[in-house]
């Protein structure tokens, strides 16, 4: 086997003057095009899942929750928070009381989850601060009657900062007690970017919790943030339980959100599986291209064998051509895929803009025929009610490299099999047929 001969021959197959090189160029394009959706799905779903999980962890569930008796007195709750804050790796502790109720505004009402938190939550909890953006007013919860509404909720209620809204909550432990109506003043409006969190969540002052939420119809907890929520949390859970005392029950975020996390992972795995099938089909295309080249160059094979090229050299030369095809396709596909993935928000916005322009034009034309017809659209790629308002992109180099290497290997295997078979043919059998 001679590397110079193999390289020379393989290169000519890729750049040959004859028409056969077009098969490999077609295969390069096929592989590149098939890799684009794989890379986009991989990186966008990673970004999407990470983005949602970050919001759930930082704004929704905390990293760890210490469930406490609902009727625990506020001073004791604050004392426990101080105690838990001393545990190694704990970076923030937020005492909280959660309950449900209905908020009534000037324009409408909505069932919500009311979370009563300390006024210094934005100062104490950096993760919360980074993901809860105040879009109007201030995050001030120092007043007992203050409330923060999400922008979606404010829209539903028709409330703006400074407005007074009412919180309707039940005060009996079995939900059958008399309702309590508490006037609250909207001090600020926020957004997390995750509509599922935003649409039915309001923050009130922890000091106001006893007035708004019945101890028997609410939950009291300590929300704990640690240095690394993705590390093994068992040791810190034990330390927190010890610090919080006998009644405390500690649960980590992956226990609380296990079903949702499993659903995300399964969805991503299924999507990747489907996209991987596309790549496999594209790699089989390499095999077809090599087969076509072998068919069209069968007399070249005969000639090369007649001058002494061995079966191994010829197989490896075709393998080189197939591998190069896979390499070029993988490089092109990864580059194009990353380009689309990094700009996915712009791509989606552009797509929606273009489709909506067409729908607008179609509506206009259709209205001339049927003036009473409703307009078409609007078209949206993602319903932001279920996803993030904007997709955070996180490139995972390991995933990208794995996809590229798998494509390369598939291309190599796909090209080797037909080449090895062709290289075993006796030269006279080939030359006789020319």
């Amino acid at each position: 086997m001679n590397a110079r001969f193999i390289f020379f021959l393989g290169r000519r197959m890729l750049r040959g003057r004859g028409g056969t090189a077009r098969y490999l160029r077609g295969a390069v394009a096929g592989i590149a095009l098939s890799l684009v959706p794989l890379i986009v799905v991989m990186e966008v779903s990673t970004g999407m899942i990470d983005g949602i999980m970050a919001r759930l962890l930082e704004v929704g569930t905390y990293h760890l929750q210490v469930s406490l008796p609902p009727d625990i007195a506020l001073p004791k709750l604050l004392g426990m928070a101080s105690s838990v804050a001393t545990v190694r790796d704990v970076v923030a502790v937020v005492p909280e009381r959660q309950g449900t109720g209905m908020l009534i505004g000037a324009r409408g009402a909505a069932g919500v989850s009311i979370r009563c938190v300390p006024p210094d939550i934005f100062r104490v909890d950096a993760g919360f601060r980074s993901l809860v953006a105040i879009t109007a007013g201030s995050p001030d919860l120092s007043r007992d009657d203050g409330i923060l509404l999400s922008s979606a909720l404010a829209g539903t209620l028709g409330a703006v900062t400074g407005d007074t809204i009412s919180a309707l909550t039940t005060y009996g432990g079995d939900m059958s007690g008399p309702p309590r109506l508490t006037p609250l003043r909207v001090t600020g409006i926020y957004e997390t970017g995750y509509q599922e969190l935003d649409k039915n969540l309001a923050y009130a002052s922890l000091a106001a919790a006893p007035h708004i939420l019945s101890p028997r119809a609410s939950r009291t907890l300590l929300g704990v943030k640690v240095r690394d929520p993705f590390a093994n949390l068992l040791p810190v859970e034990k330390e927190i339980a010890a610090a919080a005392g006998g009644d405390a029950r500690v649960a980590s975020w992956d226990e609380i959100e296990y079903a949702r996390l499993a659903s995300f992972r399964t969805t991503k795995a299924l999507l990747l599986f489907i996209m991987a099938l596309v790549v496999i089909v594209a790699s089989v295309n390499v095999s077809s291209s090599v087969l076509m080249i072998i068919f069209e160059r069968r007399h070249d094979l005969g000639i090369l064998k007649s001058v002494g090229a061995g079966p191994r050299s010829l197989s490896v030369a075709f393998l080189f051509a197939g591998f190069s095809t896979g390499f070029l396709g993988a490089v092109g596909g990864v580059a194009a895929g990353l380009l689309v993935a990094v700009n996915i928000n712009g791509v989606i916005a552009g797509l929606e803009w273009a489709v909506n322009r067409v729908l607008g034009l179609a509506s206009l034309l259709w209205s001339t025929v049927n003036p009473s017809a409703a307009a078409f659209g609007p078209f949206t790629v993602f319903n932001s009610a279920y996803y993030l308002k904007s997709i955070p992109i996180r490139i995972e180099p390991g995933e990208v490299i794995a996809a590229a290497v798998a494509t390369l290997l598939l291309s190599a295997v796909a090209s080797y099999l037909p080449a090895a078979r062709a290289a075993r043919t006796r030269p006279l059998d080939i030359l006789r047929k020319v």
């Binding site: 001679n2 110079r4 001969f5 020379f8 000519r12 040959g16 003057r17 004859g18 007399h299 070249d300 005969g302 000639i303 090369l304 064998k305 007649s306 001058v307 002494g308 090229a309 061995g310 079966p311 191994r312 050299s313 075993r424 006796r426 030269p427 006279l428 059998d429 030359l431 020319v434």
Partner: protein, 230 residues
């Protein structure tokens, strides 16, 4: 048979080749015996389809016999592995076919040197040797031409140069002038004999051309699967 020698370059004993296609069987060669001494030229003539090219293919290691042995320079090539047989074709034999069989994606010079690229010689030295050979066959001005840009006679001259690039002791020519017009045929014929003589090679040539056959040291006829003195 060729002149008897104690150590012939090519020695064939009881060679047979049968082609089987489904239930049909065709015995093209049976009990072929031949000895060719080094430095001689031998012509094999015979009717179309009598098995001349098959015999040449067996001597050149392009095919394997059904029975018998082909010994070249003391090595029984019928017992060689595929890999060793490739090495034999590369180093011991040079082929000139009726059709030029040039690789269309390679220039004239590249076509000439491609058998030698399987060896270890430097690319620079190889190209230099290729240029010299192309000059010998009168194509010093056409080295970088693609096969499609060459005339039939020029392509065949490139094929002759390619056959000689590895300086093989044995040259096998299968109707080397069969596809050429009279003038080009004579040019290639002269070239072959001149080069074989100049380089001290042994040549076995298969031909219908009695004129070409008459220029060889020995003439044999293949008929009914058996080789006879012509």
């Amino acid at each position: 048979m060729s002149s008897v020698s104690l150590s012939p370059l090519v020695s064939i004993a009881s060679l047979g080749r049968r082609f089987v296609n489904g239930t049909e069987s065709l015995e093209v060669l049976r009990d072929v015996n031949l000895a060719v001494t080094a430095g001689s030229t031998v012509a094999i003539t015979g009717e179309s389809g009598c098995g001349k090219s098959t015999l040449l293919g067996l001597i050149g290691g392009l095919d394997r016999p059904t029975s018998g042995r082909v010994v070249v320079r003391g090595t029984d090539i019928t017992a060689l592995s595929e890999s060793d047989l490739s090495g034999y074709r590369n180093r011991e034999v040079g082929f000139v076919f009726q059709f030029h069989f040039l690789l269309k994606d390679f220039t004239a010079l590249e076509n000439v040197i491609i058998p030698a690229m399987l060896g270890r010689e430097s690319s620079r030295a190889l190209r230099e040797r290729g240029r010299r050979l192309l000059a010998e066959v009168g194509l010093s001005q056409r080295m970088n031409a693609w096969p499609l840009e060459l005339s039939g006679g020029e392509r065949q001259r490139v094929a002759v140069a390619r056959a000689l690039i590895n300086e093989p002791p044995l040259l096998l020519a299968d109707e080397p002038t069969g596809n050429l017009d009279e003038r080009n045929a004579r040019t290639v014929e002269d070239l072959l004999f001149d080069l074989v003589k100049a380089h001290g090679r042994t040549m076995i040539i298969v031909t219908h051309d009695s004129g070409l056959a008459s220029r060889t040291d020995d003439r044999l006829q293949l008929a009914g699967g058996v080789l006879q003195r012509g």
